[in-house]
Amino acid sequence: MNDVVIEAKNLKKYYKMGETIVKALRGANIKIKKGSFVFIVGPSGSGKSTLMHLLGALDHPTGGSVKMDGKEISKMDDWELSMIRRNKVGFIFQTFNLVPSLTALDNVKLPLLTDKRISDEELTARAIKLLKVVGLGHRIYHTPNELSGGERQRVAIARALINNPEIILADEPTGELDSKTGAEIFELMRKMNKEEGKTFIIVTHDTEYIKHNDTVYHIKDGVIKETSKRELEKNGMKGKKEIT
């Protein structure tokens, strides 16, 4: 099964909030194949972001295992996790999270800026190429506040691709965008998935972006169930944020 890029087994994440313990994930299982384009949906507070953090080597689980490329990452120390993030993961955030003082180019270069294996010329060339791929060839030297929301998210996508990652994790990537721009961003991500074969794991509340044959995982009560767009529609989950 070497085409499984990431696999979580019996994944648990508990948060201590003073006296009470919040059980965000209570034994979640997920297995994602290389090159797939999958969605994660679920009500607010159901643990979607928590799952993304654990899959993306940003956090340590309370229990269970996460295997990336067959390697157990759940017990790694902070430095090893940094290396996993640098080499294997790309993040796309709801709020873009670009560095305001830096140009689009520098923002895209950021993940590999401290990596001595790649020269600055090579890194710059790669970043420019990616900015062109995401349609920002004419905005290379703009800073984030000179860019529209959609353009910022394109920069973020280019940044997520700079390290040629195994998986790209996008947590509500269109949450701050209008539906037309959101659709463009999804189009771009699908293109990267098809043309570059990149694995995308996307958290979204907007079911309108999900196609009928996409794989969809539904998180509820801290566990994951595989579902589909049809079933979601049947259960009445619409393109609105659910408040629990």
Partner: protein, 381 residues
């Protein structure tokens, strides 16, 4: 990395400038105080203590080259019992030789030039060495010499002059008539010219001189004669040259102590300034450091980034501080009229100070930034 660090500093310019104030003040004080102290020290050891006898100067003058004495005082002092000879001196500071020099840190073109009265001088020195040093070539100054100069061998060698050459001191061209042995000391050269020209160059009135050198009949009476001069002549101070040098040395010791106090205060203030600035800047950029960590930066990478920023503050502080220190030294040079220079060692010391303080002030903020939890820092729900 340094480029990114620089950009980060430029983001909040006023805060960066605030952080620099402490550093710049520190570096400026270090450079200015030391250069001025060393300058005065050299000047005094070279001018005064080399000559045995009594130095007479304007009462309560703050600094010897600023002293003005009426020429008639010479005769008055000559009449005092136990005084053998009195010789006038006019001090001139030359900063340009053959139109070169005048830069910030040039010992090279700065020499001490004395105006002397050849007749009185030869009496005082018993017709031997007007500056206490041996004549190598040519002759001493004589009555009627106008644009004539005696150089010491240092200057003669540096500017390739021999007896008969021309040399331009500030705006005046002189003919070299004699060359003496060097006098030693830190300031590498001296020259002697006739009194009248010296007055003109120093901008002193025709009947005035800077100071008088008095030689007593008996060396053991030096102190008594000095006291006598002070009592009998109005408006002058008279000190045995040795005592005068000692007095200056005491003042210099105070300046030295002051230097260390100011230095340590500067370290403290500058350090706190950098610490505060960097800490504020780090806390303000919590989210940003979270992003850096999320995209794969290690704790070490972040420490390096923050330390680069404080290191840059140190370097900028050093540059500005060195420049402003140099300006202070220039001003001091102008007002005191004595040669001063900023030595390379001093600049190195001040730079080390600034950079070390900068980096030290960045350590805690860097550590704080590196320990930020990326998830909390980014704050996504």
């Amino acid at each position: 990395m340094l480029r990114i660090a620089m950009k980060n500093l430029m983001r909040n310019k006023s805060r960066s400038i605030l952080a620099l104030v402490g550093l710049v003040l520190g570096v400026t004080t270090i450079i200015a105080l030391i250069s001025i102290t060393v300058g005065i020290d050299n000047y005094v050891t070279n001018t005064v203590s080399k000559i045995k006898g009594i130095i007479v100067y304007e009462k309560d003058v703050s600094f010897l080259p600023l002293s003005r004495i009426d020429e008639q005082t010479i005769e008055k002092i000559e009449k005092i019992d136990g005084v053998r000879d009195v010789a006038p001196r006019v001090f001139v500071t030359v900063m340009r030789i053959d139109d070169k020099g005048g830069g910030i840190s040039g010992f090279k073109e700065m020499i001490r030039v004395y105006g002397i009265d050849p007749i009185r001088e030869s009496k005082t020195r018993k017709g031997q060495h007007p500056l206490g040093s041996e004549l190598l070539r040519g002759r001493w100054l004589a009555l009627g010499d106008k644009y004539a100069v005696i150089l010491d061998e240092n200057i003669a060698d540096d500017y390739k002059k021999t007896v008969g050459s021309k040399i331009k001191l500030n705006d005046y061209t002189f003919k070299v008539v004699g060359i003496t042995k060097e006098m030693g000391g830190m300031i590498p050269g001296s020259a002697t010219i006739p009194l009248d020209i010296a007055r003109e160059m120093a901008g002193i009135k025709q009947n005035e001189v800077t100071a008088l050198l008095v030689e007593p009949d008996h060396p053991e009476e030096t102190e008594r004669i000095a006291d006598l001069i002070e009592m009998q002549i109005d408006g002058v101070d008279a000190k045995p040259t040795e005592e005068y040098a000692k007095q200056i040395a005491t003042v210099l010791n105070y300046i030295d102590a002051l230097f260390w106090i100011v230095s340590s205060i500067a370290v403290f203030v500058a350090g706190i300034g950098i610490l505060n600035t960097m800490l504020m800047s780090v806390l303000e950029r919590t989210k940003e450091f979270g992003v850096l960590k999320a995209v794969g930066w290690t704790e070490e990478d972040i420490i390096v980034l923050v330390l680069s920023e404080s290191f840059l503050l140190g370097v900028i502080g050093a540059i500005i501080g060195t420049l402003s220190g140099a300006i202070v030294v220039e001003i001091a040079k102008h007002y005191l009229g004595i040669p001063m220079a900023i030595s390379t060692n001093l600049v190195i010391y001040a730079w080390c100070f600034s950079i070390i303080v900068g980096v030290l002030g960045g350590i805690y903020p860097a550590w704080r930034a590196s320990k930020l939890d990326p998830i909390e820092a980014i704050g996504v729900g």
